[in-house]
Amino acid sequence: MSETRFTRDHEWVHLDGGIATVGITVHAQEALGDLVFVELPAAGREVAAAEACAVVESVKAASDVYAPLAGKVTENNAALAENPALANQDAEGAGWFFRMVPADPAAFASLMDRAAYDAFVAESA
């Protein structure tokens, strides 16, 4: 099973084989503008759901990125740290932020699916 879900903080989560890959949405990177710096959680870090665990900075300002689920970080994207613009160019692909093992895989289902997220974005515009 592989599926992508979304948070109200404009993160996407791709769950595949028990590993969740997390990034910021296309909408989020558009709103932030040119990204120039990211700070990513280290592998091994335990995070709570909605905990601020990464930072993304545009030319203008810094923003927090929140853990979409509770769990343990297994890996972060060194290529993104080297070139934050990857999150502008390919937000839901090469611009991923970190990977984690969710403590409760069932919590994934409580996140928005793409249709619900698109409606959420349209509503808050």
Partner: protein, 365 residues
């Protein structure tokens, strides 16, 4: 966008170009266009960009004795300003701190002033309260101001306004640009060669479209304006200078004209004379953080574990591909090359004091 914001004469043009509008100093202003801040920044450094700075305050100071009257409020040599020349100066408080920074141009019939958008009401009230009989301040709210900036700005102006293209840095001309009557100065806020163009509001969109139609020119917003001026080491009122910072510690001692140091006969003159003699307690410095993390305004600056100052402007410098900042530190820590630490999100990031500008100015003198 929120209620009660003022708009510039170019608002419709900004929206048609796809600008993202933000509130700034009471105006709806373009922070960026679809190209994005870094592309607009690079456009300015490499070719030419057009900025709408119509939110800034324009005014004329009229009457015999206008220059002497202004000299009572600023440290600059205004009586010595030749016709069609412009100068950067400061409105100072009695304690030598900075009410605003401004441009003053000498025209045959008046002094022409350009002040910051967020300060125009304060500046105009301050000047009006101090002017002698016979000298009048006449705000010019019905004029727009455009800035054409970049190494190819002069080539564009050569086609649209040859007289303006022939100006030297800080020269001023009353001339037509693409057929529109304008007041042009060779100046700007990016560190690049360029022009600031004052025009009647009704003609602003036609002029802007004519400039944008030139192949070298693209639109740029306030985001790029800020990163460009930061790279150029130029102060932003409200960040780097304000009524709590004096002209000496701000590194603006060069704005105190030699002749004015004979008498120190301007508001704040005695205070600045004393600070200059004893040395300022703190100084504005340039800062190069190591690593990639930007240090924003408000970041604490430490030396040997003790707070010695605060960042007043900081961000990413697209031309350098690295973060830069400016701020104030206690005077013992202001030497170029001094090691400092920046408290960013609970971590101490190493940094050092660096010369400004971070990117060399390319003015045409």
């Amino acid at each position: 966008m929120s209620e009660n914001l003022l708009s510039t004469p170019l608002e419709a043009l900004h929206r048609s170009l796809g600008a993202r509008m933000v509130p700034f100093a009471g105006y709806a202003m373009p922070v960026q266009y679809p190209a994005g801040i870094i592309a607009e920044h690079n456009q300015t450094r490499q070719s030419a960009a057009l900025f709408d700075v119509s939110h800034m305050g324009q005014a004329k100071l009229v009457g015999a004795g206008a220059a002497a009257a202004l000299e009572a409020l600023v440290p600059g040599d205004i009586l010595g300003l030749k016709p069609f020349r412009q100068r950067y100066t400061l409105l100072t408080t009695a304690s030598g701190t900075i009410i605003d920074d401004l441009m003053v141009a000498c025209l045959p019939e008046a002094l022409f002033l350009v002040v910051n958008a967020s300060r125009k009401a304060v500046d105009f009230a301050h000047m009006a309260a101090h002017l002698p009989a016979g000298v009048t301040l006449a705000p010019m709210p019905d004029r727009a101001l455009l800035a054409l900036q970049g190494p190819k700005a002069a080539a564009v102006m050569a086609r649209l306004a040859p007289e303006a293209a022939a100006l030297a840095f800080m020269g001023v001309a009353e001339t037509r640009v693409a057929g529109h009557a304008c007041l042009v100065s060779r100046s700007g806020y990016t560190g690049e060669d360029g022009f600031e163009i004052s025009v009647e509001a009704d003609a602003a969109e036609g002029l802007a479209r004519a400039l944008l139609a030139e192949p070298e020119v693209g639109p740029a917003g306030l985001g790029a304006r800020d990163s460009l001026r930061l790279e150029a080491g130029l102060c932003l009122w409200g960040n780097d200078i304000d009524e709590t910072t004096n002209a000496i510690e701000a590194g603006l001692v060069w704005t105190i004209a030699k002749r004015r140091r004979a008498g120190w006969d301007f508001l704040g003159g005695a205070a600045l004379r004393d600070i200059l003699a004893s040395g300022p307690a703190r100084q504005r410095i340039g800062i190069l953080p190591e690593g990639r993390a930007p240090a924003r305004a408000g970041t604490e600056i430490l030396a040997n574990g003790t707070k010695v100052g605060t960042v007043t402007s900081g961000g990413f410098a697209p031309t350098l591909g690295a973060p830069v900042a400016m701020g104030y530190v206690e005077s013992g820590h202001a030497e170029i090359g001094t090691s400092l630490a920046l408290a960013v999100r609970g971590q101490l990031l190493p940094a050092r004091v660096a010369a400004m500008p971070f990117v060399p100015h390319r003015y045409i003198r």
